[in-house]
């Protein structure tokens, strides 16, 4: 880097100068990303702790002691809010369990067993990325009504699981392929059946992939609005996203500060996951299976 050459960098800068410019740009970029990325979360949090009259009347950037309150969080104790959150949690857990079980099984089959049309199955699997909740939801509304799944959490779990499949199965498939076959063969030599080998040797080693798939399924279920809006039409049995939107339209008294408080409560689980499960997430996404 320190030879005396004519400057060869961008805009006639020396290589060192170029590096300095890039470093500076990187620093500025990082600052912008962190600010823009974290700002809405900060704003939501500070509003959640500000008295609701102050929120409606003026712009406040920080809940100073004279307007600070915890009172907004009483909204969480309202029965219908509680129902929405409970339903969301049930749907999220149901989706996670379904997705992990189904994708583990399918991933194993794709990675380890030979069967006809495997390649075509992989292609069809990827079509799942193009499933659009609105295109599918409208006909599904009548189908679910006819077979009695409309308005049930189970019906929503099935729909959400299906659209998680391309990511989850693809991820498991690729992940299991990185586990040497000899591990399983060693288990067979030790006398383990195929199922036992899968249970004792493959599943424990798939932990990062299982966590990544579970997180993805969680994000999808937690995030879902369209399917729940269509498939859980009864206001009192729906999940958080459509529930809160309907409550905003109908409720007599639902100030924005309350909405921020409940939003904060619903944001915390994904935030915590994002922070503590980061390495698993990255590992999962690095298999390039999104």
């Amino acid at each position: 880097m320190s030879q005396s050459e004519p400057p060869g960098g961008v805009f006639g800068l020396s290589y060192d100068g170029e590096t300095r410019v890039i470093e500076a740009l990187k620093l500025i970029s990082t600052a912008i990303i962190v600010l823009v990325g974290a700002w809405p979360i900060y704003w939501m949090t500070q509003l959640a702790f500000t008295e609701y009259e102050a929120v409606e009347d003026s712009v406040t950037a920080f809940p100073t002691p004279d307007i600070f309150t915890l009172g907004n969080f009483t909204v969480l104790t309202q029965p219908e809010m509680y129902t929405y959150m409970f339903n969301t949690v049930v749907v999220a857990i149901g989706t996670i369990v379904t997705v992990v079980l189904v994708s583990l099984l399918a991933g194993y089959g794709l990675a380890r067993l030979e069967f006809p049309q495997k390649e075509n199955f992989a292609r069809i699997l990827l079509v799942g990325y193009l499933f659009s909740p609105i295109v599918i939801g409208i006909p599904l509304y009548q189908i679910w009504q006819n077979i009695g799944l409309l308005g049930t959490r189970f019906g929503l779990i099935i729909a959400l699981s299906a659209i998680s499949m391309p990511f989850a199965v693809w991820l498991m498939w690729k992940y299991i392929m990185t586990i040497p076959e000899a591990h399983e063969e060693a288990a067979w030599v030790d006398g383990a059946s195929r199922w036992r080998g899968f249970r004792d040797v493959i599943i424990p080693q798939c932990r990062p992939a299982i966590i990544a798939a579970a997180l993805f399924a969680f994000a999808l279920a937690w995030n879902d609005f369209t399917f729940a809006q269509i498939l859980l039409p009864q206001t009192d049995t729906t999940t958080f996203a459509p529930g809160i939107l309907r409550a905003m339209g109908q409720a007599q008294f639902l100030p924005d500060a309350y909405l921020m408080a409940i939003s904060l409560a619903m944001t915390l689980p994904p935030l915590l996951f994002a922070y503590f499960m980061q390495s698993y997430l990255l590992k999962g996404f690095q298999v390039r299976a999104l």
């Binding site: 591990h183 060693a186 067979w188 030599v189 030790d190 006398g191 424990p204």
Partner: protein, 361 residues
């Protein structure tokens, strides 16, 4: 304890219309307590043979029996074998103790008994202080010991090795060889050891089976394989540096045989050459049985190329009319690129059929 009998074992792979014969009509018996090494170049079918014996691959035809038990159709789980894999294949999520006890756990042994057996094996393998560690924290040699222990505790009927040391360095290999022999002696069952490393084959085996292109070339004790190879392939594959070959012609056979190698004639006593008079043959000779004479006219004319001094001997390379020839010379030998004559030690000459490579004399 039973023996292993492999009869007419053939394995054919069909891949997109291509028929690949990986193992071709192999017959091999491994006596109880015997250590047999299956050695050959990569892709010769040795691993496929082993996987058929293990039950991981299904043979196309032929039978495999352990003692009086026909296991050809039996799944691997029911064969009661031990197998050491090339990549060791310890379960990365289990501790050393759990790794070694897993087979016993499957067989339904109680926890106390599992631990007792594992500790006993660990002592023999000198890994008692490693039992709580995870495989990733062990060195390559220790991992091999654990894998051996995993097999040892199960007291298998048949012990199989699939190139277990191919990823280790030479020093570690030398250190582990006695351990493997100790373990196989301890279990005392028939052992089939697959390797591409002829040194491993020679040092550990009761008998060596050389396989090439899916076919068994020769099965014999190491010394016999080395001294009396039955084919040109065996002669070339076993021994380092390998046997040197020359084109020759049997001129006449009357009591002694007269052999022409290039422009040079040899006359030597050897039985079994009757009927070969006038035929072309391949002349094989181990490099240590070729002498270098300062007089180019004393033997096969050769131009010195280079020396590789090893300390206790020197490998010298010569250019001859038969191509490049390696000779084991004195530690002090320095060729300096001059002309020499290569002289054979007659009694070590091996003669092979020029077409089939089968040993003649």
């Amino acid at each position: 304890m039973p023996d292993i009998e492999i009869r007419n074992l053939t394995k054919v792979y069909e891949e997109s219309g291509n028929r690949i014969v990986a193992v071709d009509d192999v017959d091999l018996t491994i006596e109880d307590d015997e250590f047999v090494t299956l050695v050959g170049p990569s892709g010769c079918g040795k691993t496929t043979t082993l996987r058929c014996v293990a039950g991981l691959n299904k043979p196309t035809s032929g039978t495999i029996t352990f003692g009086d038990r026909d296991v050809t159709e039996k799944p691997v789980q029911e064969r009661n074998i031990a197998l050491l894999f090339q990549d060791i294949a310890l379960y990365p999520h289990m501790s050393v103790l759990e790794n070694m006890a897993y087979g016993l756990k499957i067989s339904g042994f109680s926890r106390e008994e599992r631990v007792a057996r594992v500790e006993e094996a660990a002592e023999l393998l000198q890994i008692t202080d490693q039992l709580e560690k995870m495989p990733a924290d062990l060195s390559g040699g220790q991992q091999q010991r654990v894998a051996l222990g995993r097999s040892l505790v199960r007291d298998p009927e048949v012990f199989l090795f699939d190139e277990p040391m191919s990823d280790l360095d030479a020093k570690l290999k030398a250190e582990l060889r006695p351990v493997i022999e100790k373990v196989t002696d301890e279990i005392g069952c028939p052992t089939l050891y697959v390797t591409h490393d002829q040194e491993e084959a020679m040092t550990m085996s009761d008998r060596v089976a050389v396989i090439n292109d899916g076919k068994l070339e020769q099965v014999a004790p190491p010394k016999e394989i080395y001294d009396e190879p039955e084919s040109q392939f065996v002669s070339q594959f076993i021994g380092q540096p390998s046997t040197q070959f020359f084109d020759g012609n049997v001129r006449a056979v009357n009591g002694t045989a007269e052999l022409a190698v290039g422009s040079y004639d040899y006359e030597f006593a050897r039985d079994g050459l009757e009927g070969w008079a006038g035929d072309d043959v391949r002349v094989g000779l181990r490099p240590q049985y070729i002498r270098v004479n300062d007089d180019p006219a004393a033997g096969i004319p050769a131009t010195h190329l280079l020396d590789e001094p090893l300390g206790d001997a020197t490998h010298s390379f010569f250019d001859t009319e038969f191509g490049e020839i390696v000779v084991v010379t004195d530690p002090d030998f320095e060729g300096n690129g001059e002309q020499y004559g290569l002289v054979f030690q007659d009694e070590y000459i091996q003669l092979f059929d020029a077409d089939s490579g089968v040993r003649i004399a």
